[in-house]
């Protein structure tokens, strides 16, 4: 790029309508996501199971916690935050780059596609259509749609950068570029799945590998979807709203580069004390600690921007939101590295503490930023004042009290859970053998009600925001799209001239190489495009051998592939989202091996496409269920009554009932698709099955199911509260029991149960 231009300026009109549309959807989806969150909080506090408000009708299979939780996370992350990011990015880059958004039609397409994807999520997730991988639950057709919408976003971003009339790329833009590159890579790698039908796929990876990919994705999605774009927004909207430049521009540049270099290596801190090799865990912890520094530099940079202007903060709801947001950024980026210390993680992992941590990030940092930004943008774009400052202030206080209540209760319950799980008596046995005893003794339902109340406050605030924003728009003279005058940059306006220019004196191959190199360097977006392509290509090249390699995995002693019946049961487990409340990963810590049995080994997961380690223990770990609820400890009869109504066996349990599985039957069509699934597992996922034709599959299925039902009826005796239906062998519950009987059963056969 070169000298300032002498060309006459021309007028550029911005596309602000699309910004408005994204912001409205931000608020709408925010309310949906938060509402679902409040319902989940009520369920965990016992509604619908141990007590009900006459809301028994809410006890629908599609409203079960396991199905609804992914809807909540997806709505908040991809719908609420996603729309806010797009709106905030599209407004700021037009101003920063002095250019109208590139590809007008594509911009509309991007808006509609993204929001339709969310509608698709809202329909499929409650139906139980899920991949079972946290934060990546959407099934493969939707994954493809996400990729298309995301690539459109990239085209718009880089297209606008290309036509810019301002040479310097303001730091916010760097954050947006990183967002696009990062998410593209993550989405592609983590969504490698093998479709078995239109709405069912299996992760290409299994067990520990899948866990590794998943948490590499999970961690970096936090980095590139909930951190970098929001920081970009911070560096634009905070100075704008305060009317003063960022405290130190240098520091912001440093913040950016430090973050993007470090973040990607911290992922393994999600898998401490697991079957992941020690060195990978140490790497993750080290980088997590290092991350603390740039994060705090960023926070201070944000807060110090307001030095000498704190009086403005008092009077402006916008600034209040932004200040609390940045404060929560500091809080969460301190808490995160702390939670990744091995000994703290031993306590905090799988507990509510993690839940509190993500909410400090998502509601505190991200949520406050999105609301603050919206309160600033809408009046600015509509050339008017906010309809009611008072209402915005009420929103601010509700949201602040809400999130503080949330974080505090989760610290309390989280630390309590962690310590109760680990508590030994003087005799050296676990003090809390009974899961529900921990709930009652720790008064957990009480704290869950407080948490629910915190969420309710936050939700109410969001509703106020929508009202306030709609009123602001209605009481204005309508949206006035801004125009500016800017002179085009004299730059490499056309590739051909630039090419000739660079190649002019290049003669030797070496000179030619550097000429091309110089050429590539002249266009940042071309450069990024090329590197991304290289990256994707490299990724695919590396993943294909892994896929083939799975044929060569030594099959560990006693671990057998899922039988047809177990496979059907496992699919039910995935569909019902049991993974959202149950882990299947006994960590290498004594209280865990004491409670559940031998710790999980890497090779155990060879047939676990996807892995089902989970991340939250609302109920106990199930990896050793075959040993825990063995035939001497109630066995299938216990499961049979428990799954029908958890209150029958475990009073006060917050587990949903699964009565619908008792009258859902596997018909011939289901057998067909089961056979097809097994064939795909054999042919693509290299699982050693012999015959996968429908007859064999059906025969094996019925044989195993008949045995299980016979055992169940034998054990029943005079306990008849949950009767065995006609043709029980084809009910889904029997398949699920077969799956539960399988978990950890290889240890029984090997005899090393302790």
């Amino acid at each position: 790029m070169s000298e300032p231009s002498t060309l006459p300026p021309d007028t550029i009109q911005f596309n602000d309508r699309i910004v408005r549309n994204f912001l409205i959807m931000t608020l709408v989806w925010g309310i949906v996501g938060l509402l679902v969150g409040v319902i989940l909080a009520l369920q965990l506090a016992g509604m619908g199971s141990s007590w009900d408000l006459g809301l028994g009708f809410l006890n629908q299979e599609w409203l079960g916690f396991g199905r609804l939780r992914p809807l909540h996370t997806n709505a908040v992350i991809f719908a609420f935050t996603g729309n806010a990011i797009f709106g905030g990015v599209y407004y700021s880059i037009q101003r920063l780059l002095k250019a109208r958004l590139a590809f007008g039609k594509l911009v509309d397409f991007q808006f509609w596609s993204w929001n339709l994807i969310i509608v698709a999520a809202a329909i499929t997730l409650p139906l139980g259509i899920t991949t079972g991988k946290e934060y990546a639950e959407l099934e493969w057709p939707i994954d493809i749609a996400i990729a298309v919408s995301w690539i459109s976003f990239g085209a718009i971003l880089f297209g606008t950068i290309y036509k810019r009339r301002e040479r310097h790329l303001y730091v916010a833009i760097w954050f947006f570029i990183a967002t696009w590159v990062g998410i593209t890579m993550l989405h592609v790698v983590n969504s490698m799945e093998v479709p078995a039908s239109m709405w069912k796929s299996y992760s290409l990876y299994s067990g520990v590998r899948d866990a590794l990919v998943q948490w590499w994705y999970g961690h970096n999605a936090v980095a590139f979807f909930l951190t970098t774009p929001i920081l970009g927004l911070m560096y634009y909207y905070l100075p704008k709203a305060a009317g003063r430049p960022v405290y130190s521009y240098r520091l912001s540049i440093l913040h950016f580069w430090a973050l993007v270099f470090i973040y990607i290596w911290a992922g393994p801190h999600h898998l401490l004390h697991t079957a992941l090799p020690e060195w990978a865990q140490t790497l993750g912890v080290t980088f997590s600690i290092v991350l603390w520094m740039p994060s705090w530099a960023g926070m201070l940079n944000g807060l110090l921007t307001l030095r000498g202007a704190w009086d403005k903060v008092r009077s402006s709801p916008v600034l209040k939101f932004l200040v609390v947001s940045v404060t929560f950024y500091g809080m969460s980026t301190f808490e995160g590295p702390m939670m990744s210390l091995r000994n703290i993680n031993a306590l905090s992992h799988n507990t509510d503490w993690t839940i509190g941590h993500v909410h400090s990030g998502a509601l505190g940092w991200v949520g406050f930023m999105c609301f603050g930004m919206t309160y600033w943008l809408i009046p600015t774009m509509y050339k008017t004042k906010l309809w009611s400052e008072k209402m915005a202030n009420s929103h601010f206080w509700m949201a602040t009290i809400g999130i503080v209540l949330y974080a505090i209760t989760m610290w309390i319950t989280g630390i309590m859970q962690g310590s109760m799980w680990f508590e030994f008596t003087d005799e050296g046995t676990l003090r809390y053998q009974d899961w529900m005893a921990m709930y009652t003794e720790g008064h957990i339902p009480f704290f869950y009600m407080v948490r629910m109340f915190g969420g309710l406050l936050y939700l109410t605030g969001a509703i106020l925001a929508l009202i306030n924003i709609v009123q602001t728009m209605r009481n204005s003279n309508g949206l006035v799209e801004d125009s500016i005058q800017a002179t085009p940059l004299i730059k490499d306006t056309c590739y051909a001239t630039a090419y000739n220019e660079e190649m002019k004196d290049a003669e030797t191959p070496r000179e030619k190489f550097w000429a091309v190199h110089a050429l590539v360097e002249r266009w940042p977006f071309l450069l990024i495009l090329l590197t991304t392509l290289a990256l994707l290509f490299g990724g695919i090249i590396e993943i294909v051998p892994t896929m083939i390699q799975s044929t060569q995995v030594a099959v560990p002693n006693g671990i057998k592939p899922w039988t047809p019946l177990e496979m059907a049961g496992r699919d039910v487990y995935i569909r019902e989202g049991c993974v959202n409340c149950h882990t299947q990963m006994v960590r290498t810590l004594r209280p865990e091996t004491e409670r559940y049995g031998p710790h999980t080994r890497p090779e155990e997961g060879v047939y676990d496409h996807p892995f089902l380690w989970g991340s939250k223990r609302t109920g106990p770990d199930l990896a050793r269920e075959a040993l825990i609820k063995s035939s001497t400890h109630g066995g299938n009869l216990w499961h049979w009554r428990h799954m029908y109504d958890p209150q029958l066996t475990s009073e006060g349990s917050v587990m949903p009932n699964y009565a619908h599985l008792y009258d859902t039957y596997m018909d011939e069509g289901d057998m067909d698709s089961l056979a097809r699934k097994l064939t795909i597992w054999r042919d693509v996922l290299a699982t050693p099955y012999d015959d996968c034709d429908v007859e064999t599959v059906t025969r094996e299925y019925d044989e195993q199911a008949t045995l299980l039902v016979a055992e169940l009826e034998g054990a029943m005796g005079d306990i008849v509260d949950v009767s065995v239906p006609e043709n029980a062998k084809r009910t889904e519950i029997v398949a699920l029991l077969a799956y539960l009987n399988k978990l950890g059963s290889h240890l029984k056969e090997n005899g090393d149960t302790k």
Partner: protein, 52 residues
């Protein structure tokens, strides 16, 4: 085991992209002036809408 290498490779690729981006930004003069952009972004210089 291969998965660790794949992910590490991904990490390094991202690392490489960052390095390239960093070098580009230095070489193309993005880092020459680290004072005025912070102030310039505050002024949008929008054309006042025609008064009715």
């Amino acid at each position: 085991m291969l998965m660790y290498f794949v992910l590490t490779a991904m990490g390094f690729i991202l690392f490489a992209i960052c390095i390239v981006g960093l070098i580009w930004s230095i070489r193309s003069g993005q880092m020459d002036d680290l004072e005025s952009p912070a102030v310039r972004m505050l002024h949008d210089d929008t054309i006042p809408p025609p008064s009715k």
